[in-house]
Symmetry: C2
């Protein structure tokens, strides 16, 4: 009988910009057994997120960088298949930082939440009911504080976070305007995600298009890009605008540190607020937010798209694919069968 093995993707080299296949290696490690207070998760879906660029950066960030030779850090959702932990039973579906691998040992410290399959399909635990939906929920509602009738602008409007932001803003009674990078995505913003206006920032005269779409200025800006796109948005803020900084996807490197038009005059004249936030500061409100998001899903007020790659071999190229904007919805990697399938 051959020993059971665990296939893993490890970080083999440290990128300075976007992580690409050459920065990773596949390897097989012996399957670990859970010790006392631990359990074994069989990963089913792995998540691919913009934040992973920061996780492998040598520059200090929210967390320690992933070490060279270590399993790539990743959110994943899977099934508990063996347990010596009182809070986790075989069959539980769990979402957490289980890494780019087929099996993970956990003591519960890296678990974000358990997923109830009656709520929605388990893949949503990585998307609309996971990091993306939660980021949209807290960033828009807590930081952006939209009021009915206001104009909400979203960059990467068709993305996993942006599409949720636009829809939640619409649920709040706001006028929604999305910025996205292709005509296909413009159509999807309008037809699937209900944006009042969607603009292709790559082909439009951005200043003129924003002026036309937002005659009274922008009250709330949910920013996933920074850079030239945001420069254009900041020029047309309304008085009292709130900007939630969620990501800087349009800036491929901070070495050297990029320059741009100074923001202070906009901030001052418009009495605007620009604020960053981190999802992990809201962990004690995840249950509240997931319940609300699931209710909106059930009511048909919230829709989402997923783009599922098959097999662990797809992982090394997935972050680059995300930054190229090629994915059609939340980018996931399926590495195992769903329970009961």
């Amino acid at each position: 009988m051959t020993e059971a093995m665990n296939r893993q993707v490890i970080l083999s080299d440290r990128p300075t910009g976007i992580p690409a296949p050459e920065h990773f290696e596949l390897r097989e490690a012996p399957m670990a057994e859970p010790g006392e207070g631990q359990f074994l998760v069989r990963n089913i879906y792995l998540s691919v997120d913009p934040a992973m660029r920061g996780w492998v950066s040598a520059v200090a960030n929210y967390a320690e960088p992933v070490a060279i030779g270590a399993v790539m850090r990743s959110i994943a959702v899977g099934e508990v298949v063996a347990s010596r932990h009182g809070d986790y039973a075989v069959g539980d579906l769990v979402c957490g930082l289980f890494g780019w691998q087929e099996y993970a040992i956990s003591d519960g410290g890296d678990v974000w939440f358990k997923h109830d399959p009656a709520m929605a399909p388990m893949s949503t635990a990585l998307g609309i009911l996971g990091i993306n939906g939660l980021t949209a929920y807290f960033g828009l509602l807590d930081v952006g504080q939209p009021q009915a009738g206001e104009t909400v602008m979203v960059s990467t409007a068709a993305g996993a976070v942006g599409s949720a932001v636009g829809q939640i803003a619409r649920i709040q009674g706001c006028r929604t305007v999305g910025l996205t990078g292709s005509d296909d995505k413009v159509a999807r913003c309008r037809d699937e995600f209900g944006y009042d206006v969607a603009i292709n920032y790559k082909t439009a005269d951005l200043d003129a298009a924003i002026a036309e779409a937002c005659p009274d200025g922008i009250d709330v800006y949910f920013d996933n890009t920074a850079g030239a796109i945001s420069d254009a948005v900041y020029r047309q803020l309304a008085v009292g605008a709130r900007c939630a900084v969620c990501g800087t996807a349009s800036l491929s490197s901070w070495e050297p540190w990029p320059e741009g038009p100074r923001l202070e005059r906009h901030i001052l004249v418009k009495r605007a607020r620009i604020q960053g936030f981190l999802l992990f500061d809201y962990t004690d409100r995840f249950a509240e937010a997931r319940g609300q998001l699931a209710a909106w899903l059930a009511e048909g007020k919230l829709v989402y798209r997923e783009d599922v790659l098959d097999g662990l071999e797809a992982a090394p190229g997935a972050i680059e694919r995300l930054y190229r904007g090629e994915n059609q919805g939340k980018l996931l990697i399926r590495v195992g069968d769903e329970p009961g399938s």
Copy 2:
């Protein structure tokens, strides 16, 4: 008997940068008489404020630009000397937008508040109990929200606003660090205004000096300068920092629009908030703030400096003087005798 005349300073040319003597002219106009619902103010002190640069700029700002040929807009404090208005009696001291002139007709719409001389000398209505103290009070407490034990950084730390910010932060139990432009002012920051540390940004290695003064980072930044000084501050924000943008004194022009290091990564990684504010949004709380500021003055917890120029002839050069940083405290122009003097 000669007709009574009113000496005025009018805007004769529109500056692109800092207003200088060549942009103004003195003229004499016939003295106006208050009509029904109006009163006549004899100006005693005129205020010189950084905001006046914006008031004469052709670029849209908070208010319509001062017209060429019109009396220069200015805050002033004076005595009601004739009245046909039920709320204003002869002898009342009033502070408002009475302009750079000896006498002003008002219907009350340009009045900020009445000043009670038992509270403090009437010149304070233009400084510590007026625009400067009120700006410090609301910008620091409402926008910056300092907590005891936090580190508060102030740019133009020895100025009329900055010195009040530093002292109010100290009253809140904060550690205070001031940035200022001369060794004299550094000494004044420490000796008069109670800063824990004061730094001459013109001679110090600013990054190193801030790192030494703020080992745990900067929790609250009250920004009067923008530009390179703020760039250095933003590099050392603490997690959860709040920045109140009050002015952009270090940037002499916004045509062409100045560039600088992008802020989004600091905002994101530090979950920081950068927010502008306008004093006029707080008019309904002026009485509360003036009462608190006067109480701190009476208790000796708050001190201020004034730099008084004599005569209306000093007005045309006063804004330039302010931007050169030559004034030793709140810059005022005395154009009349105080009542009873």
